[in-house]
Each structure stands twice: as structure tokens, then as C-alpha cells.
């Protein structure tokens, strides 16, 4: 069974420190996602640099498709050892979740991963082994929909040590808290925010160590099907619309005035245009019963592409109510996207598009496909 995960991350810096010495990183691939948590020795900027170094090396190697063992061995070989304490300068947990539901975990000196299924703690069989002279725990297991996985740095486990608790919050109390508050039913980000709030409370607002929590929740893939442009041959209208409405999906999106009219004609459902013009540069959205988003075509697609490209340049994704922002947001949240693209052209658009340097439908859709693939999404395109 195919699976995807939602990931929530939250951190707390040691009191009076500007930066957190823990670093987390998510590397999305075509068939998998890898989550890394590294805790640099000590706190502050030195710890931060050390943990960033570890995650950066891991991210670079994973992008080159190296296996977890090789990644870990490379980091272990390059990590300096503290002369005073004779321990490595940073800890590491690397969890690779394949979209077929299998997972591979290597833990080095970090608290053990917590796996909750059906509101019960699940034991993961671990193997202790030596990789590059370091004693690590390695495990292979399966992840299901609604599973909750939690990775924490030792700052969470030790929260309140010598203060509220003699030996700190501890794994058992943390687990008790997770079950008592039924965190299993909450979103990944809510879970992790609550764990960090708990940690902060245990430290009485004065964290004694950098603390990070990563919550991972299994879910079914979000599939989006997007219909844009009527087919070149009008006889195909019915087939295209039937294909579009028949596909099981998380969201159905229609982009294009003529496309919306075609769908309305074929299904007998009325199309109603919103009177809200939230962004004057983007035509208003419309609504058709059973369709999650109906927008204008070319301008909205071009604007949505701009927003996604802006996001890929390291900026945030604009959250707004205009059609392009809604489209970009839905595509961003999707895991699998199918474009059903008609090749009919509107002669009135051609000249205007050239003068305004707007990309025609096949070009803008092509660019969108590339950007979405770069984001690690599975994208298919069917043309009519």
C-alpha cells in the first residue's frame, strides 16, 4: 500500500542561547522521504554548527542516492571527537520512509524513536551494530496510515532534570503524556508543538538543553486531478469529462472558463462565478458542485507557476484566496497530480499572450509539471 507522511517539527533553545544546537532536516525524494535529527554536543552556536554539519553531509549524500549505512559511515568518519569527553560531537537519527510503507532507521546516541499505532506503543526490533566504529541501532519496519512516529532529542527526555523531576521527564512519562492527551489523533505539527510545550513546562520556562521534537504521521497519498482546456476534437468532450469525474481523488480542479463551461454542459451542473475579486491580477474563482476548485485558465496557471517557482527559490508559499494562490496551495499539498489537458486553442488569446509574454497552456503546464516533479511529486499528464 502506498503511503505518505506529514511531518511536524518544533524546537526549543537552551535558556539564554540565540540558536538551537539541534538540527532537523527533511529530504524528499521521488520514492521516499528521509528525516534527519542531529544534536550537536553542548549548546549554542557551536552545537548548532556541528549538528548542521552532520545533517548537511547527510542531505548531500542522500541526494546522490547513497544508502543510509554509507551516509552514516561518512558522517561518523568525518565527525570530530571531543577531546575532553571522548564522544562524538553530534548525535544522529536518520529515518528513511519509502512510499511503499517500509522504513529504515539508524540511531546513534539519540533517544529511541517512538512508534504509536492504534493508540498503542509498538515495539521496533532493533539490531545493535557497529558502523564506522560507532555503535548504532538499526531497524527495518513498516509504517501504516495513521501511525504516529516521534523523534526527540535528549533535551526532551531530560526536561526538568534536577528541578521538577529528579531524573528528568523521561521516556515513560513522555509516553504517558502522549496517550493521556490522545495526541495520536492530532496533526503532526500539533503533536510536536505540544511535546515542545510540555518540555518547556518541565524546564519551568528555562530550558536546560536544546530540545527538538519531530512528529511524523502516516496518511494515504493526496491525489489531485486537474482538468484544463477543452479537447481539440469536441466529440471528445464527454469522454474527457467522464474520465475527469470518474478518477478517485483528494481534490478535483478545473482551470479555464471554456473548460468549466464544457464540464457544466456535460454534467448539467451549474457554474457560478464568485463576486470576490481578491487579487485584481487574477480572475475570480467559480464553483461547480462536486468540484473543489474552479479557476480561469491561462492567467491563473501562469500565476500559480510563479508562486510555486518563488517557493522553490526558498521563499514561503503565499496563502491567499485568489485562484492562483488556491491552485498553488492545492498542488503544493498534493502527492500525486494528474493533468488532463485539452489541446484546443482560443485564437483570441494568441496575440494577447504573445504581447504580454504569457506562456500558452501546453508550455505553462509543462513548466508546472517540471516544478512539481522537482518538489518530489508524482505527476502524470494526459493530452486530448
Amino acid at each position: 500500500m502506498k503511503i505518505r507522511v506529514d511531518i511536524g517539527i518544533a524546537s526549543l533553545s537552551k535558556k539564554e542561547e540565540e540558536v538551537c544546537g539541534d538540527t532537523s532536516r527533511i529530504i524528499e525524494g521521488k520514492d521516499s522521504v528521509t528525516i534527519i535529527l542531529s544534536d550537536g554536543l553542548g549548546s549554542g552556536i557551536k552545537a548548532s554548527i556541528l549538528s548542521i554539519l552532520s545533517t548537511q553531509i547527510a542531505a548531500g549524500l542522500l541526494k546522490r542516492k547513497l544508502g543510509l549505512e554509507q551516509v552514516f559511515a561518512t558522517i561518523a568518519d568525518t565527525l570530530p571527537i571531543c577531546k575532553v569527553r571522548d564522544i562524538a560531537y553530534s548525535t544522529l537519527s536518520i529515518l528513511k520512509i519509502n512510499y511503499d510503507g517500509t522504513a529504515h532507521l539508524i540511531e546513534y546516541d539519540n533517544p529511541a524513536l517512538i512508534l504509536v499505532r492504534d493508540n498503542q506503543l509498538l515495539k521496533i526490533n532493533k539490531q545493535q551494530r557497529m558502523i564506522a566504529g560507532k555503535e548504532v541501532f538499526e531497524s527495518f519496519f513498516r509504517i501504516d496510515v495513521d501511525d504516529l512516529l516521534i523523534l526527540v532529542s535528549d533535551g526532551v527526555i531530560n526536561a526538568g532534570v534536577g528541578g521538577l523531576f529528579k531524573l528528568g521527564l523521561g521516556r515513560e512519562r513522555l509516553l504517558e503524556n502522549i496517550f493521556k492527551r490522545d495526541l495520536n489523533s492530532e496533526s503532526a505539527q500539533a503533536v510536536t508543538d505540544k511535546i515542545i510545550a510540555l518540555t518547556d513546562a518541565c524546564y519551568l520556562g528555562k530550558a536546560g538543553d536544546d530540545s527538538t521534537s519531530i512528529a511524523i504521521k502516516g496518511r494515504i497519498p493526496r491525489k489531485v486531478v486537474l482538468l484544463t482546456g477543452p479537447p481539440a476534437d469536441q466529440k471528445l468532450d464527454k469522454i474527457v469529462v467522464e474520465n475527469f469525474t470518474g478518477i478517485q481523488s483528494w481534490k478535483k480542479i478545473v482551470c479555464g472558463g471554456a473548460t468549466g463551461n464544457m464540464l457544466s454542459r456535460q454534467t448539467g451542473r451549474e457554474i457560478e462565478i464568485s463576486l470576490e475579486y481578491t487579487d485584481p491580477s487574477v480572475p475570480p474563482v467559480a464553483s461547480i458542485a462536486g468540484i473543489d476548485l474552479v479557476t480561469e485558465g491561462i492567467l491563473t496557471l501562469n500565476k500559480a507557476l510563479e508562486r510555486l517557482q518563488h517557493y522553490m527559490e526558498g521563499n514561503g508559499l503565499k496563502k491567499a484566496d485568489d485562484g492562483a494562490s488556491q491552485l498553488a496551495q492545492n498542488l503544493y499539498l498534493a502527492d500525486e497530480i494528474t493533468f488532463l489537458m485539452g489541446t484546443s486553442t482560443n485564437p483570441a488569446h494568441k496575440e494577447m499572450m504573445e504581447s504580454l509574454q504569457l506562456k500558452p497552456r501546453p508550455v505553462v503546464v509543462g513548466h508546472l509539471v517540471n516544478v512539481l516533479r522537482d518538489m518530489g511529486k508524482e505527476v502524470n499528464i494526459e493530452t486530448y
Binding site: 472558463g257 471554456a258 468549466g260 463551461n261 457554474i271 462565478i273 464568485s274 463576486l275 475579486y277 485584481p280 480572475p283 475570480p284 467559480a286 480561469e296 485558465g297 491561462i298 492567467l299 482560443n346 485564437p347 483570441a348 488569446h349 494577447m352 504580454l356
Partner: protein
């Protein structure tokens, strides 16, 4: 009630949008509440006359290459009748 109102349909398709249908909408939004109360405004995704945008329908009459001024004249004439 809507039957007594003057029906205004504005095309907000790609061409009409680029040719200035947003100016028409801006004009309609700026009308006084008293005038707006006499209008039934609707947006249309495409009126299939893309080369002569913006397209606006006032009652039964379809205006091509519409401008706020043209629309204002038309609305004024009908409402003052």
C-alpha cells in the same frame, strides 16, 4: 425581486480580463448602494466572443469592447427611463 432588477453580466474570462473587465468590476463596486440595489450583477466565465472584450451584458443587450463609461451611459439610460 431579482426580476425587477437590471441584470448585468460581466465576462471575466482570460481575454476579457486582460482587456479590462477588472476595470468594469471596479466601476460596478464603486457605484452607490442605492444604484447597486437596482442591479443584479453576475460574472460569467466566458461569453464566447473573446476577440471583442470586455464583454458585458446589460439586460438583453450585449456590449462589446465595454468600458466603464460605456456601461455607465447604458445603466444611467435604463435606470432613468
Amino acid at each position: 425581486m431579482n426580476d425587477q432588477k437590471l441584470k448585468i453580466e460581466v465576462c471575466v474570462g482570460t481575454s476579457c480580463h486582460l482587456m479590462g473587465s477588472n476595470l468594469i468590476i471596479e466601476y460596478l463596486e464603486r457605484l452607490s448602494e442605492k444604484v447597486k440595489a437596482q442591479l443584479d450583477i453576475k460574472y460569467i466565465s466566458c461569453m464566447n466572443n473573446c476577440s471583442q472584450g470586455p464583454q458585458v451584458k446589460v439586460g438583453d443587450c450585449q456590449l462589446a469592447n465595454a468600458t466603464p463609461e460605456l456601461l455607465n451611459d447604458r445603466i444611467e439610460r435604463i435606470l432613468l427611463q
